[in-house]
């Protein structure tokens, strides 16, 4: 089966006063109808990878790739007009913090219907019905009230569910979720994940789940890419995370305090320069 999204040798660079800074340095992966986790620390380029796919890297940032295809069609550096038809309709993104990604002076209903109507050109009534249906799908108890509410009137967990409802309304093929639950409490987090998991499964979507939380990704995703300094250093089936081979992945896992394994001192990650550039054993076992 051909992949939904195919990326080869993706690079994102920014000119700075002291030369070019490469935020992403040659990332390659295929995404099918699966949950793909992208894990790394701050500055590893995981968010930039997501933004580059959606064409959200602003100049002077530069995006290049040998290949970036959605269903076989090239989507790299499309003109803004064509990108806009694609963004939201076929690939959508859920951001980390609902407080900053929802428009504070627009009702929630208007924000959901706005994007939906732009992509589907339906009547206001149909858009409203769809919005209410989506709010129900993310388990918001009183959708009519929330439809007319402003973002400050809902909680963080509700805001994040609203974001998911908004992003899934036009039925995209790919959802990119950038730290969708990092701002949430654990109990709310699990609920949001369950909703996302169900929607992604029922609709047969491809999900790119960007997170700094290794264990969460291991439980939630099918496959995990581990990023370090702008490159993918290891790719693993999620259930094999415990058998990670790369010293960086092992170091990350060991530096976490664990309830079931008390230690006097936590082991500290010793970073090696070689991780930045050394040859990677299996960039993608799926083959080119």
């Amino acid at each position: 089966m051909s992949p939904l999204l195919s990326v080869r040798n993706l690079r994102v660079s920014f000119p700075t006063r002291s030369g070019t800074f490469d935020a992403v340095r040659g990332v390659s992966f295929d995404l099918g109808r699966e949950r793909l986790g992208v894990v790394g620390e701050s500055g590893s380029g995981k968010s930039m990878t997501g933004r580059a796919i959606l064409g959200l890297v602003r100049p002077p940032g530069r995006v290049t790739a040998d290949r970036m295809e959605l269903d076989g069609q090239p989507i790299l550096n499309l003109p803004e007009r064509q990108m806009r038809a694609l963004r939201g309709a076929r690939i959508s993104m859920v951001m980390q913090d609902p407080k900053f990604s929802l428009n504070p002076v627009m009702t929630i209903g208007r924000q959901i219907t706005e994007g939906y109507r732009l992509h589907t050109r339906t009547t206001p009534q149909a858009a409203r019905d769809k919005a209410l249906e989506m709010l129900r799908a993310v388990q918001i108890r009183d959708p009519e009230r929330v439809f007319d509410a402003y973002p400050h009137e809902v909680s963080g967990g509700m805001g994040q569910r609203i974001m998911i409802a908004m992003m899934l309304a036009p039925d995209p093929e790919i959802l990119i979720a950038d730290e969708p639950t990092s701002a949430l409490d654990v109990s709310v987090r699990n609920e949001v994940l369950r909703i996302m998991d169900k929607l992604v499964r029922d609709r047969g979507m491809g999900l790119i789940f960007i997170s700094h939380d290794l264990n969460l990704v291991a439980e939630f995703c099918d496959r995990v890419l581990i990023m370090y300094a702008g490159r993918v250093v290891e790719e693993l089936p999620a259930h094999d995370l415990k058998n990670a081979r790369h010293p960086y992945t092992q170091g990350l896992l060991n530096s976490l305090p664990r309830l079931d394994h008390p230690v006097e001192r936590l082991s500290v990650l010793q970073r090696q320069d070689s991780w930045r550039d050394e040859e990677i054993a299996t960039p993608f076992p799926g083959g080119l």
Binding site: G156, N190, H212, P257, D260
Partner: protein
């Protein structure tokens, strides 16, 4: 070292009054490390803020080292005993003050002598070399900033350190470094910690005992060993533990 009893903290006046902490009570012994866990809005940080005098609207008993405190005013002696480290190292350091200025100002306010030598020693004790002394916050990483914030708190040579989510803004590898630093400092200086966190594993690693909070109330106070054993007494603490254990996919095998 710290004794809290029937502590109520509220914001606003009726009818809009919000009770953030309701009748909370616990004691922390000299040299002990005590954790406060709970979800956002459970009142765990509010307790720390009431202790340090950042919130004035409280009633009940707060006793530090045998001395009762009241209202928002705190004596000089209080600040020599109690210091706080905040969650966000990006927000808690003045962006236009160098590390040197942050520390020398604090030392000066605490009436210390030999400021120059003390700054060198403080930076040493938090694992930053002399090279960091004249840097500004934007020239430091998140972990380095939190080290500066810890150095600032140590400047007064306090005996009780209040830690409000000291590592939740940091990457896990940096978190390990900061937690190790805090462990070492406690052992070397015989410090007492009260640590607020939403991360049960972090609290279990750092603390001897902990209180679980929900909706402003303390649901349960227990030994960290009890948490590790997965055997809290209250339903809520058990539910919180289960939720933290991770996401279980519906209908998935295993």
């Amino acid at each position: 070292m710290l004794n809290i009893d029937h502590l109520d903290v509220w914001f606003g006046d009726p009818p809009e009054r919000v009770d953030a902490v309701k009748s909370a009570g616990f004691t922390v012994a000299q040299g002990e490390s005590f954790g406060l866990v709970g979800e956002s809005g459970s009142g765990k940080s509010t307790i720390l803020r009431a202790i340090t005098g950042l919130i004035g609207t409280w009633s009940g008993l707060i006793e530090v080292d045998g001395e009762k405190v009241s209202g928002q005013h705190r004596s000089r002696a209080f600040h020599k005993t109690v210091q706080m480290v905040f969650q966000d190292p990006y927000a808690s350091l003045h962006p236009r003050h160098s590390v040197d200025r942050v520390l020398s100002e604090t030392l000066h306010l605490q009436g210390m002598d030999q400021i120059d030598a003390r700054i060198t020693r403080l930076l040493d004790s938090v694992g930053l070399g002399k090279g960091f002394r004249f840097r500004y916050p934007h020239q430091l990483s998140g972990g380095q900033r939190q080290r500066v914030a810890i150095a600032r708190a140590l400047a007064a040579e306090p005996r009780l350190l209040l830690l409000d989510e000291p590592t939740s803004a940091l990457d896990v590898s940096v978190q390990a470094e900061i937690l190790n630093l805090l462990t070492d400092l406690r052992r070397e200086r015989g410090l007492t910690y009260v640590m607020v966190s939403h991360d049960l594993a972090v609290v279990a690693h750092m603390c001897d005992r902990l209180a679980v909070m929900r909706g402003g109330e303390i649901v349960e106070v227990m030994e960290a060993a009890r948490l590790r054993a997965g055997d809290p007494a209250s339903d809520y603490a058990r539910a919180l533990l289960a939720a933290s254990a991770g996401f279980a996919r519906e209908g998935a095998p295993g």
